[in-house]
Symmetry: C2
Subunit: 101 residues, 2 copies
């Protein structure tokens, strides 16, 4: 059963392009994730009623894969995260999940 | 660009099994959706920190496909929806989205 987590972002109006490039399925986050075993994919959903609101869904084979990634790429993670925070006005974790088959 | 919508459910403790069968990728909802053109897939995510909390994500080729489905299968939709409400204690729309490629 895959491990997933979902985040909601409100993006600064002048940063939407940058955000979409960085957080989409071929963005910098996905690029970093792909260096780790067990990463499956990233989805970026843009709210149709609020063009500044996005959801990301990341898919990993297991929670253990995610934790191993987080430990191993800690500094790369923090760096991307700090850069990402400059693009957004709010970041909210919707949750961590297991995906039904 | 695919059309998606995300719902959050809190499920009654004695209804979790029924809910998972009905709302998963091969549940009654997905079965109904599959009768309509443009339906892609359904995902069911179960919260790892709250076993009564779920997200569903439905994927359609376009918003138009969803609207055509909704109009054509209105009575089937309402019936399933009414049955579903008996399984849950809260249903919240997280949003309607377009999915980045």
């Amino acid at each position: 059963m895959a491990y997933t987590y979902v985040w909601e972002y409100l993006v600064a109006p002048d940063k939407v392009g940058l955000f979409q490039r960085g957080y989409g399925p071929s963005g910098e986050w996905a690029e970093l994730f792909r260096r780790a075993p067990g990463y499956l994919r990233t989805e970026l959903h843009r709210d149709l009623s609020n063009p500044l609101r996005f959801l990301t869904v990341d898919y990993w084979q297991s929670r253990g894969d995610w934790e191993a990634f987080r430990a191993r790429f800690s500094s790369e993670f923090e760096e991307l995260d700090a850069r990402g925070e400059k693009l957004t006005t709010r970041e909210t974790e919707i949750g961590r999940f297991e995906l039904a088959e």
